[in-house]
């Protein structure tokens, strides 16, 4: 029986162009969708929903972000701190601000509190901030598109 010889060449030239096109499209997509902002967001916080909480236009200049967890602790600069202890951290912030020629009343304190946390703890945080001279607060909520 005669063996049929393949007429195909030993190497096949695959056209890589469409694959590279798609791959670069994917990279571009991920680049655009990626969040490069330095906004402090912690997955432990489940923000309350509000239909008026539309994303803010423009950045708040050098804000202080305090995140209150469900268990009543504050995440400050990635560290878990009890609510009553944030005073000393805020004092340090205040000193740093004064060194750079700013007053604490010009700074905004962003309060990212969990919706399940106690309202009194949020008020405690506000009161401690007020004692240190901070008076601008931004209560953060998640934008609710559903209603």
């Amino acid at each position: 029986m005669a063996i049929r010889r393949a007429g195909a060449p030993t190497t096949t030239d695959i056209d890589m162009t469409p694959m590279i096109d798609v791959t670069f499209q994917l990279i571009t997509f991920f680049l655009f969708i990626m969040n490069f902002s330095e906004a402090e967001q912690d997955d432990r916080i489940q923000l309350p929903l509000s239909q008026l909480a539309k994303p803010v236009e423009g950045l708040i200049e050098k804000p202080i972000t305090l995140q209150l967890t469900n268990s009543g602790n504050v995440i400050y600069a990635g560290e878990l701190v009890a609510v009553r202890d944030i005073g000393s951290y805020l004092e340090r912030e205040k000193m740093a601000m004064r060194d750079s020629g700013r007053e604490p009343n010009a700074a905004t304190v962003i309060v990212r509190a969990d919706g399940r946390a106690q309202a009194g703890e949020v008020q405690d945080i506000i009161r401690i901030c007020q004692d240190k001279g901070f008076e601008r607060f931004a209560l953060r909520a998640q934008y609710d598109e559903g209603r």
């Binding site: 906004a39 923000l47 509000s50």
Partner: protein, 162 residues
Amino acid sequence: MPRRQSSLPDKIAIDMTPMIDVVFQLISFFMFSLKVVSPEGDFDIRMPLAAAAAAAPDDQQVPPVRVKLSAAADGSLASITMNGNPLAGFDELHQQIMALVGTDTGPNSLAEKTEVEFDCDYSLKYANVVQAITAVSGRVRDGQIVELIRRIKFTPPKKPAG
């Protein structure tokens, strides 16, 4: 003069493997570092400590609206009162605020001058406070936010005994 013939082949085969390796590495990096961020917004509150003490009243000042939010034992909302009058829910609070300040929200309007003071039980879940702030701050009409009252403050926290 004889022309020198090139010995190079017509088509140069470029080895694509390293480039494809790098590109796939990049894709993997972006895929794994992707974090879906939900849109967030702020309710701006200006609450200096000095203002907590009685400020000198002037003729232009409108008496603050006092909204009391009481908590049930599990931290859920038990009742809402506005200036002492019990309300059914946040929708009624919104309607009462609308009836009080009207639809004019421009400069020097009643909505701009009116201040709402929230008195919340310590153990109340914070989500209820945000809902109440939403009810007094505005509404969404045709996809646009119509602002109502922007001046919001809280009474000092009252920690329950024990």
